[in-house]
Symmetry: C2
């Protein structure tokens, strides 16, 4: 049974996609079999790995029409890394799900029916706590929270943890916190340092030690359809995501 | 009658809040009377101006309980700039609005009833095309689209313009495009240049000439509860937002 990890934070632009994609690639590069599920209608993970989604054959059809998950799983440029692609059609799912039966279980039902021959399943979530993210939190065993090293990044964390707690109580008793990952860290600025200190103070023992540095190579890599471990293998971004993969593989945080 | 401008883009972290707040401040600094409406449950504009929202007296109560708009409007550190505050309660609005009558008109109804003694009303939207952003697009006369100078920023633009077109056809015939604003521009990287070229090619004549540079002072200013024109008045961020204010005041883009 794979570790199923939702990568979620309703604050926008904090590095959810970048972390889900590059962490998945680093885990695969280290020998694990990994499935990355793109649950964002923007389909950034799909585009970032240079993959094209066909209308009618994306995660939207899995959730909405019950298409089997493996019908939308395709290869990526990384050995042992597969992706369940997204498509802009998925933006209709939030409103469609509102009146559906067992609406929070749509993704979980699809995963339970599928043959998950993976060590890890990572789910990239959109920037909201709507029904797509709720589906990911119900299907997952763990949630990984990217936190950008900037002022606005702290505002939503309490609400996110509160939502995780309520999901655990009402829908998914297994849901644990994998931890918070600090992203776009810039060791030249006081702001980054203040955010790191604040997050460590608020979530003692639940913050990954790896700090992902701000690096233009990381931001460039999706334009080449490659994870940063292939675009700039010796750079600081690749190094950080390999270290994060090792940390994730080696331990689970106590809550 | 004020110019009512929604600042929207479903891609997260592209600079919606930073642009709405700093543009509003620059317009006010130039002599205009400005209302900033924080329509994001994260309440980043509210926090970024150092204001505290009380539960029960935020834009959520205006939309959900019909509280008059001026009951939630408070002063900011900038002369002539007022803010209609947000609160985390607003995250309940998306689901509550789904079954409400005339659900796309909740904000417009509140604005139509209010005495809007302003030259500009700017509405900061959350990172989605859900019912809160739809309410902003129905209440507004114009939409301003911040576009971050990064690869993922291009993916959602077509969908956003499609949504604007559908709103104009079905709900708000006045809705025009104020233009796209390129944010977090870094003239040292090829990536920024590529995005600028791509956006200008896709939206000829509808891109503001002002490029907002990436600047740590801009990212720091909300932690001081100040817009960048007060936190770092001579810096590149303040200069860019003053130039953007002048451009906005001087012209409307032809579509
Ligand atoms: N370590 C980094 N260094 C430099 N740029 C980064 C880094 N991590 C992410 N970025 C860039 O920051 C932007 C936001 O990151 P990303 O899109 O991964 O965030 P997100 O949380 O998935 O956004 P959304 O909320 O829209 O889903 C992207 O342009 C990305 O390339
Ligand atoms: N010109 C700039 N220079 C440096 N940092 C910037 C700039 N503009 C915005 N930022 C920073 O980038 C991050 C994202 O910006 P912001 O929060 O305004 O985006 P947003 O689109 O409102 O995000 P969301 O989608 O969550 O609402 C913030 O931490 C902000 O301080
Ligand atoms: Mg993303
Ligand atoms: Mg914002």
């Amino acid at each position: 049974m794979p570790r199923i990890i939702a990568v979620a934070n309703q604050k926008g632009g904090v590095g959810k996609t970048t972390t889900a994609l590059n962490l998945a690639a680093a885990l695969a590069d280290g020998g694990a079999r990994v499935l990355l599920i793109d649950l964002d209608p923007q389909a950034n993970c799909t585009a970032g790995l240079g993959v094209d989604a066909q209308p009618g054959r994306s995660i939207y059809n899995v959730i909405s029409d019950g298409l089997p998950l493996n019908e939308v799983v395709v290869k990526t440029p990384v050995a042992r890394l597969l992706i369940a692609v997204s498509h802009i059609d998925l933006s209709a799912a939030e409103l469609e799900l509102v009146s559906a039966l067992a609406r929070e279980y749509a993704l979980k039902r699809a995963l339970d029916k599928a043959q998950l021959d993976y060590d890890y399943v990572l789910i990239d979530c959109p920037p909201s706590l709507g029904l797509l993210t709720l589906n990911a939190l119900v299907a997952a065993h763990e949630v990984l929270i990217p936190v950008q090293c900037e002022f606005y990044a702290l505002a939503g964390l309490a609400k996110l943890l509160d939502t995780v707690g309520r999901i655990r109580a009402a829908l998914n008793s297994e849901l644990q916190l994998a931890g918070a990952v600090l992203t776009m860290h810039d060791n030249r600025t006081r702001l980054s340092k203040e955010v790191v200190d604040e997050v460590n103070a608020n979530f003692p023992g639940r913050v990954f030690k790896t700090l992902v540095p701000r690096s233009v190579r990381v931001a460039e890599s999706p334009s080449h359809g490659l994870p940063v471990i292939l675009h700039d293998p010796q750079g600081p971004g690749a190094e950080a995501y390999r270290a994060l993969a090792a940390e994730l593989a080696g331990e689970r945080m106590e809550e």
